[in-house]
Amino acid sequence: MDPAEEARLLGLARRGDMRAFGRLVDAHQPAVRAFLRRLVGSYADADDIAQEAFARTWEVLHRYDGRSSLRSFICGVAFQYWRRGRRADNRRLARDTAYSELEDSHTDAPQNTPERLALRRAMEELPADQRAVLAMCLGQDFTHAEAAEVLKLPLGTVKSHITRGRARLQAALGLTPETNP
């Protein structure tokens, strides 16, 4: 979306225009949902968190100061939601089997099932910050600087998280980083 148009819609949304906010939701939902799908694994849970994050963003739009992109701001809200909810979900997730999680997560795209399962397991073993950095940056939806802004991490930490996380994911697929072209 054109920055000037986004600024105009943001101004309208801050004054209570739901139609303008709806257009901002349309503009940013693909990136936010992709980030959360990679982070959470379950598409349904990811979309649920994304909707809550957008709804919360509406309430705190006045706090957005324009120093980062609006997309980063919304992802920051979503990340906080995920991290809070994750603590509560840990006990529930422990009871689930890997197969049922896989079935729930990837009903839209059943191809490459073993690889997806291996990657999902590897992601769940990573620390929360590292996992979030990979979810943001692997798909090239967000720059390293944006990820640092959203996750409140130093840029160097983001870069090392990506390097180490990528190696862990590649190892989960039976690849070594050295085989990477």
């Binding site: 939701v25 349309d26 949902r33 990811a46 490459n112 692997l138 798909g139 090239q140 072209p181």
Partner: protein
């Protein structure tokens, strides 16, 4: 398979196009959250008002003031309230008063 985009695609894919249903759900949640917040505020106001009323009655009883002694005060208060309502009707019109009354008593 080993490049970042392939890894990202295996972890989860972005929706191809913005989903109007998603937007609708977000706006529904916004409305639901606003309604919940208003209900909380209204509930707190009602609790505060009735607590204050109960406190006043308890203090009156504690001070051993007879009910008859309050009749002039209550009469004056009623006259002031009626004047206030009349002033609002004159200034804002009857619909504004009705809307205000519905907002105050509608959630009770």
């Amino acid at each position: 398979m080993s490049d970042d985009l392939s890894l990202a695609a295996l972890l989860g894919e972005a929706p191809k196009t913005p989903d109007p249903g998603f937007r609708f759900d977000v706006l529904a949640r916004v409305s639901a959250r606003a309604a919940r917040r208003e209900a909380w505020t209204r509930g707190l106001m009602q609790v505060a008002a009735f607590t204050a009323l109960g406190l006043v009655l308890a203090l009156v009883q504690f001070a051993s003031v007879s009910a008859g002694a309050w009749i002039p005060v209550l009469s004056a208060g009623g006259a002031l309230a009626a004047s206030g309502v009349f002033a609002l009707v004159v200034i804002q019109g009857p619909k504004a008063v009705l809307a205000r009354a519905r907002m105050v008593f509608g959630g009770a």
